[in-house]
Assembly symmetry: C2
Homo-oligomer: 447 residues x 2
């Protein structure tokens, strides 16, 4: 597929590379270098001999070897001719980061048509223009910003550069990592439908997150999204739910947000999961890309914080999960293993004197019970060893959603271990419950 | 008022101080020391001469000078006699951290009655037992855990130690800080009503956050909460909304969560703001304790991220705020000051090439317009100088709720500056919108 040149190019030209720190043409070249791009890298700038230690060429046509992908950051008016140069060089795909096209009015739209024409003639596939670029962690190609390097299971397609960047930053911070990021920009050629099709087949992508404001072909979108959602979770965040939001969409990407109810029905029909905020979007990605699937909606809550356990119980019940009665066999097994102050019900309250061995006993008993499908593990005041307990018990095949809060230094240390283990952790019992509910809903829908 | 001895004691005895790191009696003494307690501090332990460099006494009765507050961490069975010793010494208040009382069954309840009787006889006011202690930042008294030292405007009363600790940790992390924290535990004497009354009058407390699972005297609670809410914002998070949550409440604190609808009506009647999760609780505290009040519900959204602006527009509208049309005078003023790619509507989209001067121009024009009551400022890909712009424009008296996301290193730096300035920042447009909606609702209700 042509899109392979976008995500796994053997050579990249950065057209508009700049020597001036702070300029986009500098930062992007630097990010590609710092991400450790595995292929050949050519800065293009007629006014420089060298940028960031790399030999610089006046035009892409002057590069002595082949160029597979072009990253374009020159002013809009030069872009059509740059694309023609790329054509001469046999470039397969271009990421046009430059703005100043159809988003600015008729003159820009005219330039965009010239860009498309040049690209079509040359058989060059185009991402953008007016976009925040592309990041493909497998080959160390961060042709975007900020610099995000941690490889992982989440791929993102987004009509918003910032939403894309936020997910990427959080995924890096949490050690979960990203696979492929694409900022759509004006979608003059490649759009979310084609990318969805590609990422559905991509073995490195475990979860697809899609921020859109509209789609050009609703029927095709539903068809492709449905196929993708059968293979892996597809999450969608869509702006323009309200009348004023829909108006803002028109100004931003000229999409027709249309009647939100129609989108909502389409998403449902396609089996994609709709998120309600950027954080909710990311929280769901994190759970779906790292945890095993629950076989049903019976959840057991284990906690050292009675209050958090109660808040989680409320949230789970309200979100359609079932806070099941503690199974007799679990009660019997734990009676001997836990101190008498523990409250043997669901939520299972290990109380403030909980240590990680108690969590271990609880998790292993719950994981062995056929009546429990998932575990929400709330660790108030986290104690040494809890990260290992979570990791070990996840091997038993049932999802464990960890929540940590109120812990000061010990919490920081255990969070760092979970990061190393690439396991998710949430900061609020309700957010953990939400992520688990999404995980459960997705699995149920898969049948 | 007697509770002054709890929050501003001139001398504190830690009864059950331990030399062994990891033990509660060690950690609490250490936290009081590390928080820089301003009064005299006496470790009590019959088996030690010295703990953490402080001279240790076998009994509180052996302390050569007066003791105003006792922090008690000895096993439950010793607590009644410890309280009698405190009586002999003229102690005014005791924080009983030890568990093993009414929460464990009849024998414990019996001990708790003895504790109460001894305290009543001596006129000693008691917090707890079975609680996570007290923290009063003004005098450096962190008789709780983890160690939290940053002074600030948020006071918390909580039936959950972890919820208390989570708020405190986040407030410290964000540089907002805390004033007084009280973990209620079994509430054998001092309860949320009395504390609410006290904190309503406390000049250092700007916002009161209350986590409860039930209250003994609903009528009195409403009366006191209403009075408090007239003076300053009172936020409440209550566990036990669902049937299963209410059952869990019974096991946790033996409170009757009762019909949630009744609580909800009472909260409304009292004018307290109900939160839905621990994070939501904290987010609201942060806005209410740091930002000026909006005089109406007309919000202007300024953003460098079109997508985030749209998501915020949806959230504001859904939360009852009014994303007002951009006033003509603002449009006129900004036409000359902003580059042509900016979209002069609401949300006001400065686009991805925004710099802090553009935010400054936008914020100052919006702050001067009578048609705008509040500003939601979304900074995707934060740029140098933005923290100062926020701080400067807040001087104009209108609330600005900052949201930062997707920014990598530059974001980290600007967040650090906001922390120094003790200004709030949110990570998700929807969370920012929620906090602003709460701020607006509270102000409207105050009339």
């Amino acid at each position: 597929m042509m899109l392979k040149s976008l995500f796994e190019p053997s050579s990249v030209a950065v057209i508009g590379a700049s020597r001036e720190p702070g300029k986009l043409g500098h930062e992007i070249l630097k990010n590609i270098l710092d991400a450790g791009f595995k292929g050949k890298l050519y800065p293009i700038n007629p006014k420089a001999d060298e940028v960031l230690g790399l030999k610089c060429y006046p035009s892409v046509k002057d590069v002595p070897e082949g160029v597979e992908l072009a990253v374009v950051i020159v002013p809009a008016r030069f872009v059509p001719s740059v694309i023609s140069d790329c054509s001469a060089k046999g470039v397969k795909a271009a990421v046009v980061i430059s703005g100043g096209f159809s988003e600015t009015g008729e003159a820009g739209a005219q330039l965009e048509r010239q860009l498309v024409e040049a690209a079509r003639k040359a058989g060059i596939r185009v991402i953008g223009p007016n976009c925040q670029g592309v990041n493909s962690s497998a080959v160390g190609l961060c042709a975007s910003w900020p610099l995000v390097r941690v490889k992982g299971p989440i791929s993102v397609i987004s009509q918003s550069g910032t939403v894309l960047a936020a997910l990427a930053c959080w995924a890096e911070e949490d050690g979960i990592g990203i696979s492929k990021l694409v900022a759509l920009g004006n979608k003059c050629d490649v759009d979310e439908i084609e990318l969805l099709e590609y990422l559905a087949e991509d073995p490195e992508t475990k979860v697809i997150a899609l921020y859109i404001e509209g789609t050009r072909d609703g029927r095709k979108f539903v068809e492709v999204a449905r196929k993708a959602a059968r293979r892996k979770p597809v999450l969608v965040l869509k702006g323009g739910r309200t009348a004023k939001g829909a108006e803002a969409v028109k100004s931003h990407t000229r999409s027709l947000a249309g009647m939100d109810a129609i989108f909502d029905a389409a998403f449902r029909q396609a089996g994609v999961i709709r998120a309600s905020s950027v954080e909710d979007f990311y929280d769901a990605c994190k759970a779906l890309s790292t945890l095993p699937r629950p076989t049903g909606k019976n959840v057991a809550i284990v906690t050292s914080s009675g209050g958090s356990g109660i808040l989680a119980t409320d949230a789970c019940e309200e979100l359609g999960l079932n806070v099941v009665g503690l199974p007799v066999e679990v009660k019997d097994a734990l009676k001997e293993k836990l101190p008498p102050e523990c409250i043997l019900r669901n939520p299972l309250d290990l109380t403030g004197s909980a240590v990680s061995e108690m969590y271990d006993a609880a998790a292993s008993a719950l994981a062995s019970s056929g009546a429990v499908d998932s575990i929400l593990m709330i660790v108030g005041d986290p104690m040494p060893g809890i990260a290992e307990v979570i990791s070990k018990n996840l091997q038993r095949g049932k999802p464990i959603v960890p929540v940590m809060l109120g812990g000061g230094k010990a919490e920081t240390e255990e969070r760092a271990k979970l990061r190393e283990l690439r396991l998710p952790v949430y900061s609020c019992p309700v957010r953990g419950a939400k992520a688990l509910a999404t995980l459960t809903r997705y699995t149920a829908q898969q049948g």
